[in-house]
Structures are given as structure tokens and as C-alpha cells.
């Protein structure tokens, strides 16, 4: 009961935090027909900066971290990435009106990770004074890659079977390489390597870190405009996508919270880490996921997966998910 009250208060206050406020502001602008444009170059650069910031910091911390501590959360991340895709395969992808490969692609997107949702949670946690191991954001690829790869493999298996009943093998390695080459993972891994192997402290503290919060606000604005703009794509696909878009982020987040709690008991994974793991799982990829899936599962209709992720999944993951996991964390860990 108290949990509910706490969540509701937090939920309402949440709309005053910049991350969410800019998201809602973006939606409002788009709904109003505003001609405001954030140039493509700024969008690309903001995404790059965010991922470098997350990567460099992660790398600097891993340098000093006890690698054993990271092991369990990393394994759990991969388990979650795959688990989410399997779950979508046996639920969404089998619903009436949902083409199987569309459902699988959607599950892949929801299994993958959104850098901006993650960044928003990091900023909110910082404001709440909730601490976490700085390597937690570096769990990103451990969840993102397995989810995308598994979705592509499952879709190909399905399509091959449908076509000729044959059992053509799907090559996994090229899918992984392709995914690592994407701009998002490239930037994150570059940042990780720089943080781990070099001394980027000054450029981190003087550039990547201070601009983080501001560029995130710009990205949130873009994502809000985008969410509204894509809404009409959703009208052209089955209603189940809307249901999935609302429920999946929270279900995935709670699954991750559970696994994170186990890691807390076993290896002392921090409460903030548990919350961020839930955010990672609850988020759905917005930058590199869509083009990867579009190229690798060409027959899947992007309106279904991009619509449900961008227009519903991401707003729910940020506006409902983040405050929910924080309230839950407070109830469970009592920080």
C-alpha cells in the first residue's frame, strides 16, 4: 500500500524531472504541429557523446573493479536479453493478427537496450542520491547483443522452415560482428576501451561528463517528438502491439529486478545496480536496433516493431518503469 502511494507520488514528481519533462515536451510539440527541428548532425553527435560518456566511465571503473563482482550481473544480462526474446517468441509472435517474424523482431527490439533510457535513469538516480557500481551501464552490450542475435536467428529459423522445411543453418558470427559495427555499440566499446586502457580522466571530466545531462535533455526532446510522430504507424498494425508495448517493458523490468535481487544476495550487487539492471531490461533499443533488424529480417514490417517500441515502449519504460523500480528498490532495500 505504502509502496503504491510512494510509487504514485514518485510517478507524479517524475514528470518534473528534466528527462521526462523533455520527453513529454517533445510529444506536445509534435502534437501541436511545431516546426522546431533538431538537426540530424546534432542528434548523431548527442548519441555519440552519451555512449562515450557511459563507455569511458564504465571503462575507468572496470579498471578498478573486482571483475568477479561483474560476472553474475553480466551473465544475468545475457540471460535477460535472451529470455525476453524467447518470451516474446512464445507470446506476442503467436497472437492472432501478428505475423510471426514481426513478433520476433519486436521482441528483439525490446530485449535490446536503449542508451537514452539508460542515461535518463542514471541522471535520475544521481539526483535521488542512489549509488551503483559504475560498471553497471557497461552491462549494456551483454544484454543488447544476445537479444538482437537471438531474434535474428529465431526469425531466420522460422522463415527457413516456412519456405522449404529445410534446416539451413543460420550463421551467428556475422550477425554479432554486424551488430558490434553499428554506431551505438562501436561508440560504447570505444569508450570502454579508452576508459580501460588510457587516462582520459581530464577529457572525461571536462567534456563528456558535463555535457551528458544537457545532451540527454535534447535527446529526450527528439524521442518525444518521434514517439508522437510514429503513433500513426501503429494504427496500421494489430492492436496486440499496443498491449505488448505497455506491458512488456514493465514485465521485463520486474524480471530483471528479481534476478538483480538474487545477485544482491549472492555477490552484494548494489540496490542502485539492481534498479539499473531493471531499466536496461525494460528499455527497448532506439538507435542501432531498428536498422540492424531491418537489414537482417527484411520481411518483418518495421512499422510494427518501431511503432510499438518508439511510441509506446520507450515512454512507458521511462515514465512508468524508472519510478516503479526506484519505489520498489526503496521498499525492498529501504535506502
Amino acid at each position: 500500500m505504502e509502496l503504491l502511494v510512494d510509487f504514485l507520488t514518485r510517478f507524479v514528481t517524475q514528470f518534473q524531472t528534466p528527462a521526462l519533462a523533455f520527453l513529454v515536451g517533445g510529444m506536445a510539440l509534435a502534437a501541436f504541429g511545431s516546426k522546431l527541428e533538431i538537426p540530424d548532425a546534432i542528434y548523431k553527435f548527442a548519441v555519440f557523446m552519451l555512449l562515450m560518456r557511459i563507455g569511458i566511465n564504465g571503462g575507468m571503473e572496470i579498471r578498478e573493479a573486482n571483475l568477479m563482482e561483474m560476472l553474475l550481473p553480466a551473465v544475468f544480462s545475457a540471460v535477460l536479453g535472451c529470455g525476453i526474446v524467447f518470451l516474446g517468441r512464445i507470446t506476442l509472435a503467436n497472437l492472432p493478427g501478428v505475423k510471426v517474424e514481426d513478433g520476433i523482431a519486436t521482441a528483439g527490439l525490446f530485449g535490446a537496450v536503449s542508451a537514452s533510457t539508460l542515461a535518463a535513469a542514471m541522471v535520475i538516480l544521481e539526483e535521488e542520491g542512489v549509488v551503483y557500481e559504475a560498471w553497471v551501464p557497461a552491462l549494456y552490450p551483454f544484454m543488447d547483443i544476445p537479444a538482437l542475435v537471438l531474434a535474428i536467428v529465431l526469425a531466420n529459423i522460422y522463415l527457413n522452415r516456412k519456405k522449404d522445411g529445410a534446416n539451413t543453418r543460420v550463421k551467428i558470427w556475422p550477425i554479432i560482428t554486424e551488430s558490434l559495427r553499428g554506431s551505438a555499440l562501436s561508440a560504447l566499446l570505444l569508450g570502454l576501451a579508452l576508459g580501460l586502457l588510457t587516462r582520459p580522466d581530464r577529457v572525461f571530466e571536462g567534456f563528456y561528463d558535463p555535457l551528458f545531462r544537457g545532451l540527454l535533455s535534447v535527446l529526450m526532446l527528439i524521442m518525444g517528438m518521434e514517439a508522437y510522430t510514429r503513433l500513426n504507424e501503429l494504427r496500421k498494425v494489430a492492436h496486440w502491439y499496443v498491449v505488448y508495448g505497455v506491458a512488456a517493458p514493465l514485465v521485463h523490468g520486474l524480471m530483471a529486478f528479481g534476478l538483480g535481487y538474487i545477485a544482491h544476495l549472492v555477490t552484494g550487487f548494489s540496490p542502485g545496480g539492481v534498479i539499473l539492471l531493471a531499466v536496461l531490461a525494460g528499455s527497448s533499443s532506439d538507435i542501432s536496433g531498428p536498422p540492424t533488424l531491418r537489414a537482417a529480417i527484411p520481411t518483418a514490417n518495421p512499422s510494427s516493431y518501431i511503432g510499438s517500441s518508439t511510441s509506446i515502449g520507450t515512454p512507458v519504460a521511462i515514465a512508468v518503469g524508472i519510478p516503479l523500480y526506484i519505489a520498489l528498490g526503496q521498499a525492498v532495500f529501504g535506502f
Binding site: M225, L293, R294, S303
Partner: protein, 104 residues
């Protein structure tokens, strides 16, 4: 004096541009030119995957001048066969006149 040649134009999604240029090169064309484009067609619904609000020019228009009409049709057929079931795109041909035939 000018010489007849064929120009084939392919307007499609940026995402598959690498595949399209590979087909062009394999057909033996001497080159190609690409321009960023925005557009609307029958598949307006198929979104490109890049944020629409920041990257409206997510199509490309590829042009190839070919010495023979045959090569042009071959490129058009291959691109359509390989991609146009799943990606949006159109192709068309035009007659042009070139001045330095050895270039093509």
C-alpha cells in the same frame, strides 16, 4: 558529336544502398552517382528505422549511365528482384546523350 546511352535511376531506402551499388558494380557499370532524397510512395508506412524527425532524407537516388541498354535493364531487374519485396523503391530508365563514350 554525341552518343546515345541509357541512364537508370533507382530511388530506394538508404539502408540498402550498399547492396544496390554492389549490384551496379557487378553489372560492370563504369560508375554511379548518389543523391540524398526524401519521398513518399506506396509504402509510406514502412519506416526507415532512423528517427523520422531528424533524418527525413532517408532515401537515396542512385543514377547510373550505362553504355548499353541491356546493362541498364539488368541492373533494374536485379535490384527489383532482390529488394523490392521488402524495401520501398522504384526504378526507371531514360535516354541520354554522352559526349565522351570512352568514359562509360
Amino acid at each position: 558529336m554525341t552518343h546515345k546511352a541509357t541512364k537508370i535511376v533507382i530511388i530506394t531506402e538508404k539502408l540498402i544502398v550498399e547492396g544496390v551499388t554492389k549490384i551496379i558494380e557487378e553489372a560492370g557499370a563504369s560508375g554511379y552517382t548518389m543523391v540524398q532524397a526524401a519521398g513518399k510512395g506506396s509504402r509510406g508506412v514502412r519506416s526507415s528505422g532512423r528517427p523520422a524527425v531528424v533524418d527525413a532524407f532517408a532515401n537515396v537516388k542512385v543514377e547510373v549511365i550505362t553504355a548499353t541498354r541491356d546493362m541498364a535493364e539488368q541492373i533494374a531487374d536485379k535490384v527489383a528482384a532482390r529488394y523490392f519485396d521488402n524495401y520501398s523503391g522504384i526504378t526507371y530508365l531514360e535516354e541520354v546523350e554522352i559526349l565522351r563514350p570512352h568514359k562509360f
